[in-house]
Each structure stands twice: as C-alpha cells, then as structure tokens.
C-alpha cells in the first residue's frame, strides 16, 4: 500500500565519494613528484607500449604500462592531475567571478546595466562553444593559459544568468527595502544580503563548472589544440592513445577512466551540495 523505503543515507554518500576523489586528486597533484614511480617525461623507445603490471609481458615498476614513447603511464596520469586541477579551478573561478559580478550588477541595478549585460550574455550564448574555443586557442596559441581563457570566456554566462535571476528575485524581497531604509549602502546590501542567498547556487554551479572545464580540455586535446609542451594532460594522453587503441588499449583507457571519475566526482559533489543546501527534497 505504501511505496518501498527511501534510502536516506544515499544522498550523503554521493557527496562524500565525490569529495574523496577530489581530495585524492589534490593529494596527487601536490605530491606528484614523490608519488610517481618514474619521471613523466623520461622516454625509452625500447619499452614501448608495455602492458599493465597484471598482464603478460609487463615490466616491473611500470604498473599501468607505457605509451608509444615508452613513458610510464601511471606517472603521466599523476602529473596530469596538475593541469586538470589548474584548468578546473582557475577557469571556473574566473568564469564564476566575472559572471557572478556581472549577474549581480545586472540583477540588482536593472535598467541600462541589465540591458547591456543581457545583450552581452545573448551574444556569447549565440556562439557555438566548441568552435569559439577552437578559434580562441588558435588565436592565443595552444597553451594551458589559452585553454583556461577559452573556458572562462565561454562559461561565464552560466554564472551570470543564475546570479542575475537570483539577484532580481532578492531585490524585490522586503528585507532588501528595509535594509535600504536602514541606510545601508547598495554595495553593503549586495554583499551582506543578496550574496549569501545566491551563494548556494553559485557553489553548486562552480563544482559542476569544474567538471565541464576538464571535459573542454579533453575536447581541445582531441582536436590537437590543448597545451603544447610534452607535459601530459589526460586529454592529450587520450588523443595519443586513440590511434593504437587495438594494440595498447591501456594508453587510452586509464587516462579516460581518470577523466571520467574526476568529472563524475565534480558533478556528484555538486549534486550532493545542492541537496545539502535545499533539504526540501522529499
């Protein structure tokens, strides 16, 4: 007569699992040197495409095997956490700050500010994101900084739209008028009143955005536009592994798994936060 029992505990598992993987990434990024068994750049053409340790023909010490240049995949994956986190954090922060600021200004002040910023958002939303990032990286030259700029330039509209909607809603609330009556400056109102209410939405979006940033880097690597030095990123390792997927599947599969788990961790962490912030979920 009554539906089966709800799994209340599930909600928090998602949050902690996500957080655990992200913490692991930070740990790997910081201690990359100590953790990785080999130098990520050391090549040995004699040790090309060695299989992972548990398969026949493996070489001891190369736990996840080697790529077409004989470089240790495990070390490269560990080092690749650095560009991944840098891109994820810096690009998302830039997009978040720029977008939220504009969103706040547009939502709170309305009038001309809103109209101009909304047009700006429309123009940016009208661009095909992948094509725009390819053009941007072609202009700025393939480097981590240009990947970051490309992502920030494209994704700030996400934050702007959310913050603007929230700010407009808050502005109509009574407590904002009462704050104005009490003589608070508009800046103080925005910071003390509007922002705290907008914060949950921003934090969730920020976490999802970090996942998106990592994916965009992988897309740019797929069209050979990501960073140009031979420092590894998961995207470039996947692109390199694509051609020899039948001979050496591990060159593609392990970085792909890391990329997948990272993006999943970011999205589940975001979802978990969203549920934590609005407990109205039945």
């Amino acid at each position: 007569m009554v539906e089966p029992r709800p799994l209340h505990r599930r909600r928090s598992i998602r949050l902690w699992l996500g957080a655990a993987w992200i913490a692991l990434l930070f740990f790997a990024a910081v201690f990359a040197g100590a953790l990785s068994p080999h130098d990520r750049l050391a090549q040995d053409l004699m040790l090309q495409t060695l299989p992972p340790a548990w398969l026949p023909g493996a070489e001891p010490g190369y736990y996840l095997g080697t790529d077409s240049l004989g470089r240790d995949i495990l070390s490269r994956i560990i080092y690749a956490t650095r560009p991944a986190l840098i891109v994820a954090i810096v690009a998302s922060t830039a997009a978040c700050l720029f977008g939220s600021l504009l969103g706040l200004v547009a939502g709170f002040f309305g009038g001309w500010a809103d109209r101009i910023i909304s047009r700006l958002v429309d123009i940016w939303m009208a661009f095909p994101p992948v094509l725009l990032s390819i053009l941007l990286v072609a202009v700025l030259g393939p480097a981590l900084s240009s990947v970051i700029i490309a992502i920030a330039v494209i994704d700030w509209t996400r934050f702007c739209r959310v913050v603007r909607a929230e700010a407009m809603q808050q502005r109509r609330m009574d407590y904002v008028d009462s704050a104005k009556v009490a003589g608070y400056g508009t800046l103080r109102i925005m910071a003390r009143e509007v922002l705290p209410n907008v914060l949950p939405a921003i934090v969730v979006l920020f976490s999802l955005e970090m996942g998106i940033a990592v994916i965009v880097e992988a897309i740019l690597s797929f069209v050979n536009l990501s960073i140009s030095t031979d420092d590894p990123t998961w995207g470039s390792m996947i692109a390199e592994g694509r051609g020899i997927v039948h001979q050496a599947w591990w060159v593609l599969v392990f970085p792909l798994t890391c990329l997948f788990l990272t993006v999943l961790a970011f999205s589940q962490f975001g979802e978990g936060l969203k549920e934590r912030f609005d407990p109205v979920m039945r």
């Binding site: 007569m1 009554v2 029992r5």
Partner: protein, 302 residues
C-alpha cells in the same frame, strides 16, 4: 442507524524511521450512510492522517502498526493496491482544503471532473459530461457550460471549491471526506459553502466525515463528533451531549477556547496546564500496552 459504511477500528500509525511518537493511537471512528460525523482537533493532532488513511494514501515515511479501515465492510489493508484503488475510487471522495492548489492548472475543469467518471466508474463520455454539468448546476454555479470549459486560474476560490464539491458528489460515492473545506476561503463564502455541503449531503444521503478545528461548524451540521488530541480520540459522542455535557476535560477546554458572542470575555482562555498533564498521563498509559502489539503487527502487510 444502519450498519456503518466507514469503520476505522483501533487504527495506530507511527513514523517509519522517527522516534517513538505515535501519529494515531487506536483511533476508531464509524460513519453510517447519511450520517455527518465531525472530527475535531487542534491542527497537528492527526486529523488529516486519518483522512489519508481512509483513502489508503499514507505518506511513505509513515507505517501502520495496528487496526483496520473498513469501507462497506472490506478492510483496505487486506487488499492489493489495485483492489484498494478500485474500492476507494468507486466508493469514496475527498473535498480538499485549499481549492487554489487542488485543481490541475494545465487541465480544463471538464477533464478533471470527468476523468474518474469515465475511467474508474466506466461511464460513457456523454453520461459523464451530463452528470458533471448537472452537478455544477446543483452547486449553484451560474454558467456551468463556460466553467466546464475554462481553466482553474479563470475561476475564483469560492467557484473552484464548488467545482471540487460537485466533482466529489458526481461520483455518487457512499462516503465523502471533507478536509476543512472552508478554512482556506474568506468568511463570507464559508457560510455558503457549508450550507451547500450540508444540503448536498442530505440530498445524496452520503456518509460524510467532516474534518475541522472549528466547533461552530460541528454544531451546525454534524450529528456525531470525535475529539482528537495527539492521535487519540479522547471523546466520541453525539453533538448534543458534546455541547451540553462534555465528558472529557480537553473537550471542555476546547469549548472554552471557542469565542462566543454572548460571553466574549471568557473566550480565548488557554487550555489549563493540569488538563494537559492529565491528558499526557492518559496517553502515556495507552502507549506501553502496545509493546506486545508491535510484535504482532510485525507480520502485517503495511
């Protein structure tokens, strides 16, 4: 009076994962065809829990530990989902509290009135439409055809409540549960709606369980009444005895709390603490005898 159509027998309900608090404690109510039975209690006493139990749609977070709900002699808990839905669909109807949210905003009134008639009761589209229009006239709606074709947002609160009442009676159920049907309406409309429900009930002879926290309403239209406190029916008598010689201290306190024209100064007296104390003794005493009952209930299909 003939055999009761609705018979709730010692029904106990508890939060599935919460503390030891009971939502309902062996509540027993019987409503015979044609009878109007009032169910009175402060909000949060468990009134709407009983209402939902009758329709077998208790929220997921709640479990039944004991008791039975019999409609026309059949206990709902023994039925499969499908059988229960059929039984309830044919025999019972609900008049909701807030007309503003009780109608589907994206469907015309026509669809919302006739869906049960055609799908559950098996009427043809024409028969369903005719009956619905008839009912709309019966609830004194001036242009039934226009209202029939319009969307909920085009009608006022009072009009929507009339539509809901018409919709409930349209199924010619043997039991109607009115869950504080006038609370959400403004005062002037309340009187009309109350009079309307009472007349419709007499004319159709349906058993009516009237849930309210307003004793004035009970006095006007109910024959028998149950007083509910924290899930336990502390008093169940006919209306006359209730107002003249209330047996339970809590009922008397409730009476005192009701504002009266003739003695304004006495009204709004809060329930005296010793009455509350006595009440909690009484309730605690009934809780522990269920320790063994819980084991027995373990095997029951909730």
């Amino acid at each position: 009076m003939s055999a009761p159509f609705l018979k709730i027998d010692r029904l106990s309900v508890r939060l599935r994962r919460g503390g030891e608090g009971r939502l309902l404690r062996q509540a027993s109510i019987a409503v015979a065809p044609g009878e109007v039975h009032g169910l009175v209690g402060e909000s949060g006493a468990g009134k709407s829990m009983i209402g939902r139990a009758i329709f077998g749609i208790l929220p997921r977070a709640v479990e039944v530990i004991e008791g039975a709900v019999r409609l026309g002699g059949t206990d709902l808990f023994t039925l499969s989902d499908r059988e229960r839905r059929r039984l309830v669909g044919v025999n019972a109807a609900l008049i909701p509290q807030d007309p503003l949210t009780a109608l589907n905003p994206s469907k015309r009134i026509e669809a919302q009135m006739t869906d049960r008639l055609t799908r559950i009761l098996g009427l043809s589209a024409a028969e369903a439409k005719a009956r619905a229009l008839g009912l709309l006239e019966e609830v004194q709606i001036r242009e039934p055809a226009r209202v029939f074709r319009s969307y909920p947002h085009e009608l006022s609160g009072g009009m929507r409540q009339r539509v809901l009442i018409a919709s409930a009676f349209a199924a010619e159920p043997r039991l109607i549960v009115a869950d504080e049907p006038t609370t959400a309406l403004d005062v002037t409309v309340q009187k009309q709606i109350l009079k309307l429900i009472a007349e419709m009930q007499r004319r159709h002879g349906t058993a009516l369980l009237f849930v309210t926290h307003n004793l004035g309403v009970v006095a006007k239209i109910c024959q028998r009444v149950s007083v509910l406190y924290a899930g336990k029916i502390v008093e169940q008598t006919d209306v006359a005895t209730l107002f003249n010689a209330p047996a339970h201290a809590y009922t008397r306190a409730l009476m005192a709390a009701t504002p009266r024209y003739d003695r304004p100064e006495e009204s709004l007296a809060p329930v005296r603490p010793e009455v509350i104390e006595a009440l909690s003794q009484e309730i605690a005493q009934t809780d522990n005898i269920w320790a063994e009952a819980r084991l027995a209930a373990a095997g029951r299909r909730a």
